[in-house]
């Protein structure tokens, strides 16, 4: 099983320019990145992550699981270990006011999450006002949307919103920005909890139903879709488990497997058979 790519600074080939819609991470920009086995550099969205590695790992773990579950993800993704000099120069080009904050640097290196640029735009960019909410909910009611919502709940993604759901028609969705997966908990220090409330993605369906944006029929169908999509989670996790463990070990050392064990325990519980059915109160 090929390891999730962790690449040296040389893989960051060219700074291209700012991302039009940057989201919460001010360091997000476009660059050409050379991924393994690719000869030509690939236009990629790049963002610098805190040096504790957790947010970067969250992105990689989510990418691995989503891909394993058959959900559309950027074809190429990697963590790149930039030199702090390169990172500073990049930020200067992006915005002269941006500083390379201390929490982004360790041992003169910066961890960057890189993923191939997608052609589509987010729901936030494409639609405005009430139409934005309507399209977001409508997307979640599709088969693809249900698969995404199921994985958001399994990974307890805290930050799904109009800005990080790319939309190229109702049946082509790409979920990005998984920094706040795994309950945004410092799992490298302690085991992540299993919060009682549903994740924001699934909660938005409940809200849409309560506010009559969707009918009861549509709501029930969406929940059943999520529960059905979750049936594939356990095998998907099994398929990428080795890569996930290897990535955590590579970044954290983790000789006794305690850290990767925490991550896996969290996800395994939430991807167990019938877990989603019970969670949503859907008859299986």
């Amino acid at each position: 099983m090929t390891a999730f790519p962790v690449l040296a600074s040389q893989a960051y080939v060219t700074f291209v320019g700012p991302l039009l819609h940057r989201g919460a991470n001010p360091t997000a920009h476009i660059a050409e990145v050379r991924y393994p086995v690719q000869h030509a550099p690939v236009l990629s969205a790049v963002k610098f992550m805190p040096a504790d590695g957790r947010a970067a790992c969250n992105e990689a773990i989510s990418w691995l699981l989503l891909r394993s579950a058959g959900v559309t993800v950027p074809q190429h993704a990697a963590l790149v270990l930039l030199t702090d000099g390169r990172a500073r120069a990049t930020l200067r080009r992006l915005d002269s006011r941006l500083q390379l904050l201390p929490h982004l640097v360790h041992a003169k290196r910066v961890v960057a999450w890189c993923a191939q640029m997608q052609a589509s735009h987010s729901v936030r960019v494409l639609f405005a006002g009430l139409e934005r909410d309507r399209r977001f909910v409508k997307a979640l009611c599709t088969t693809q949307g249900a698969a995404l919502a199921a994985l958001d709940e399994a990974l307890y993604q805290l930050d799904r919103n109009h800005g990080n759901l790319l939309y190229d028609g109702p049946t082509r969705l790409v979920a990005i920005d998984h920094e706040q997966a795994l309950a945004n908990h410092p799992w490298h220090l302690s085991a992540p909890p299993h919060p009682q409330p549903l994740c924001a993605t699934v909660e938005s369906l409940f809200t849409a139903h309560q506010s009559l944006q969707i009918t009861t029929d549509q709501f029930q169908t969406a929940l059943r879709g999520i529960a059905d999509a979750a049936k594939g989670h356990a095998p998907a996790l099994q398929a990428c488990r080795e890569q996930l463990e290897a990535l955590v070990k590579r970044l954290y050392g983790d000789p006794d497997g305690a850290i990767s064990g925490r991550v896996l325990s969290f996800i395994m519980r939430r991807t167990a058979a019938h877990w989603m059915h019970d969670r949503l109160g859907v008859l299986g």
């Binding site: 058959g70 998907a236 398929a239």
Partner: protein, 291 residues
């Protein structure tokens, strides 16, 4: 706690022979109208101009300005700018001053690449707006191998999402030994069967042969290092979109080569001139595990 100083990359990265900055050469056709077009790309190292490439034609300017755009004026502008840049070679970019106030150099950002020319070409393709880069594909166009492999991987991922990661290695296979990673041109392996997908759909027979031979060599050597029950080669044959003489040259060569593959018994040979059919054959190599 993470120690980024100790984290080793999973894959080797090639040390670029060029590192510097890219710049855009911009032209403002009307001094009183703030509309600029990128007419060239330049590279600098340590702040000094090193290389540049200007668009020799500007069909998009002709679109914009119609009768006001004259090819002779463009040629004059091009030649004058070329002379100014030549005079400014190896001098600080910040000090560059073109004789025309309508021309400016704007710093883009960090750039690197295997060679100066490759970096310049890539930058030019990406930023120059006055030429049409996406030309209509010629009728005689094959299927590049990278594109074929992506298409096959996408097809497999759609149809076998739960198992895809079990046997697919879109990034190729690596063997790590002595602190070094050695890559093999093999896209599929489940521990029992290793296979590679190659494109023979090229206008040049040399490209097709190179793809076949590279994958064959790596499969044979890999299976000596990591014994496999079976190895497979999936070949996309030149389709009807390619000229007759290309397909004839291929079939003359492949007739003998495919005989050797089949009769040797060393390979499972899969062939098709359609990507989906080829992907389906690859899928058959990796049956679903028994429940």
């Amino acid at each position: 706690m993470i120690d980024l100083a100790r984290v080793e990359p999973t894959h080797p990265s090639v040390e670029p022979s060029f590192e510097g900055d890219w710049l855009s050469v911009e032209f403002q056709p009307e001094p009183h109208v703030p509309q600029r077009f990128v007419i060239g790309a330049a590279l600098a190292r340590r702040g000094r101009l090193l290389a540049w490439r200007l668009a020799s034609e500007a069909p998009r300017l002709a679109c914009f300005y119609g009768d006001r755009f004259a090819k002779s004026t463009w040629k004059w502008l091009h030649d004058e700018l070329e002379a100014d840049l030549r005079a400014a070679e190896h001098t600080p970019v910040k000090a560059f001053q073109c004789r025309s106030p309508q021309i400016s150099l704007t710093l883009g950002g960090f750039a690197s690449g295997g060679t100066l020319d490759a970096t310049l070409s890539r930058t030019f393709e990406r930023i120059v707006t006055v030429v049409a880069h996406n030309k209509a594909k010629p009728r005689s166009e094959g299927v590049p191998q990278a594109e074929l492999r992506r298409a096959v991987a996408d097809w497999l991922m759609q149809r076998r999402p739960l198992e895809f990661a079990r046997f697919a290695h879109p990034l190729g296979l690596l063997i790590r030994q002595g602190g070094e990673d050695h890559s093999f041109d093999i896209g599929y392996d489940d521990g029992a069967v290793a296979a590679s997908v190659v494109s023979a759909s090229y206008a040049s027979l040399d490209n097709a042969r190179l793809n076949v031979m590279t994958a064959t060599a790596d499969l044979l050597r890999y299976t000596r290092i990591r014994p496999r029950r079976q190895i497979g080669l999936a070949v996309l044959l030149p389709g009807s979109g390619l000229p007759g003489e290309v397909r004839t040259a291929w079939s003359d060569w492949w007739r003998h080569e495919s005989y050797k593959y089949r009769e040797s018994g060393a390979f499972v040979l899969m062939e098709s001139d359609e990507q989906e059919a080829l992907a389906s054959q690859v899928s058959d190599l990796y049956p679903e595990p028994a429940a």
